[in-house]
Amino acid sequence: MRKDWETLQLCDRFFDAIEQKDYDTVAACYAPETVIWHSHDCLYQPGDANLAMLKDGMKRHKKMHYANRRVHVFEGGFVQQHTLYVTHANDFVGQMDVCFVAYVRDGMLSRIYEYFDTGQREKFLGPAAA
């Protein structure tokens, strides 16, 4: 059994690394079998495809910030609620409330479930997304 603080450290390391555009640290948080499920399509995305998406986002976005992080650790994982702020290339700052549920194995993220509202695309991507 891993201690709560180890899980909390993993959680913070992961989101801090995305904010800092530290791709290697982000990738190191993923277990080899990591899959990421999103509530908008209900599909499991392989870890490498998700990492490629994150790497692309690090290049395209000026800034990513996970605000108002509320983390709770449960046996085998954690849930984090946050508001994601993204500064796009055109300086539009999008925001989205997200619930991130992660199942952890050996100190790495093994399965991730992300819940958010695609009904608020414009608020996140800007008026051009409407």
Binding site: H72, Q81, D97, V101, F116, D117
Partner: protein, 140 residues
């Protein structure tokens, strides 16, 4: 509250939602309970939340909260579930949602619900011809 007590509270709440038993739901809410939902970003106080639950039942013939995956943490729980809805027309749709709840003394203090409103089908009477076609597929 223990892990077992939190799980029981969670299941009692979702069972009551399915059974449309608003009195039972009310009995599980603390007096200062708040219900937040990501779609509006607003937290409703207890009475308004109960009224919204009561009003919401008129829109659907049946709602089932299936595939419940519950994890508990000190002072609360997170539940991931599939909400299966049957409309009065007989159309079915499914939503995948998540609720994080904080609890105290056997009651729910705060619920944060995350759903994807992008999957909401428009009300049949207000639907445009294009949207009516989309709604018939039941794919949203």
């Amino acid at each position: 509250m223990t892990d077992w007590e939190l799980r029981e509270l969670c299941n009692r709440f979702f069972d009551a939602l399915e059974a449309r038993d608003v009195d039972a739901i009310a009995s599980l809410y603390a007096d200062d309970m708040e219900f937040w939902i990501n779609v509006t970003g607003e937290a409703k106080p207890r009475d308004k939340s109960l009224a919204a639950t009561r009003d919401g039942y008129a829109r659907h013939r049946r709602r089932n909260y299936d595939d419940r995956r519950i994890n508990t943490f000190p002072g609360g729980f997170v539940i991931q579930y599939t909400l299966n809805i049957m409309r009065h027309s007989g159309e079915r749709s499914a939503f995948w949602a998540c609720v994080v709840a904080r609890c105290r003394n056997g009651k729910i203090l705060r619920m944060d619900e995350y759903i994807d409103s992008g999957k909401f089908a428009p009300p049949p009477l207000a639907a445009t011809p294009e949207k009516k076609t989309a709604a018939k597929t039941g794919a949203r």
